[in-house]
Symmetry: C2
């Protein structure tokens, strides 16, 4: 008898250049092959208004400095739109939701990278996300310098990608701490392995939540 | 001997159509006459990024609904930019700051109008505004229907101006409650009086903080 499939909410996390886009494509191929209905989305962004906020957050050349509090509030404002207008409707419609980043990124980037008080993030997480935690979070892990070297080979860097190595080391550390804190939800994949090995581990993790 | 003048932070509050713009002009004329250095600003807005957030917040025709949480977070994100990049530098430079709306508007509109949990607003007020409370808040008070009737005679209404009479009655109620709670900071002016009477009461209130 075939196992009954239930749509799931899966998030992909990791620093720049670890291969999140490739991971999303692997999952897309897998779910298509399994004839599952799904949506691919991302944060910050995913809705018309959230994408406008993404532009403000990531614009590389700014004439005005963005405060760390503004950055945090805009991330969660974008997330509120994303949840209400995309994630929840898709899950209710029986679709899988695959998001390139979600709330863990706020802990890693604003908490770790920007060193904002973790309590602020926890309060906003509780208000805006509440029980809507992902069923599976795939963390593509690599030393910060490996990801950054790959990211620098791409086109123009955004405002956050322009941060220092220290910043991304703190981001990575928080991601790994959260993975240790939530072992049932997190699947940590060594992103320095061959592409084939990474892809097969991603598919194994998805298969696991099927 | 002339009294030593210290620059102050003054906010103007009230529902739509109560004459905030006229009040700002009266204060502008008075401070100019008294040879004081000042800036006029507004919320949401006052900086490049805050004005971009204002556009998102107030756009009258939206294809995407803004959640009440998003509205609250964007108001405080805008406020964080406004404080860091405009209000604090101006006060440090010895300038008077006159703002058309400030944090009291979040209590009135998002707390009263949208009926959001007051605790959320208090938490954000503490994070973002902290000790930077205005020296004087002029509340132009009128029954909601009086203000709305005046506002409707103006150009196209924004997203919040399109709300119901009930909404603006709740806004007014919260403003009056806050005025009662902070009597030293608030000056409540009956905006249904003649323009001359309103203006003279505004000037008297400014004179009081000189």
């Amino acid at each position: 008898m075939q196992k009954q499939l239930t749509n799931k909410f899966i998030t992909i996390e990791g620093v720049e250049g670890v291969g999140k886009s490739t991971a999303v494509k692997s999952i897309q191929n897998y779910l298509t092959e399994k004839k599952q209905d799904f949506i691919l989305t991302r944060e910050p962004g995913g809705t018309l208004i959230a994408e406008q906020l993404r532009k403000i957050l990531l614009a590389p050349t700014l004439t005005e400095e963005i405060t760390t509090d503004t950055e945090l509030l805009l991330m969660f404002a974008s997330r509120s739109q994303h949840i209400a207008n995309v994630i929840v409707p898709a899950l209710h419609a029986g679709k899988w939701v695959i998001s390139d980043r979600f709330v863990d990124a706020s802990y890693a980037y604003q908490g770790g990278g920007r060193q904002l008080d973790k309590k602020k993030i926890e309060i906003l997480d509780h208000w805006i996300v509440g029980d809507l935690q992902p069923h599976l979070t795939i963390l593509l892990d690599a030393p910060a310098e490996v990801g950054l070297a790959r990211a620098k080979n791409r086109s123009a860097q955004d405002r956050i990608e322009q941060e220092t190595l220290d910043f991304f080391e703190r981001v990575r550390e928080v991601y790994l701490n959260r993975a240790a804190q939530f072992p049932k939800r997190y699947c940590v994949i060594d992103a320095t392995q061959s592409l084939e090995k990474v892809q097969s581990e991603i598919i194994a993790s998805i298969h696991h939540v099927f």
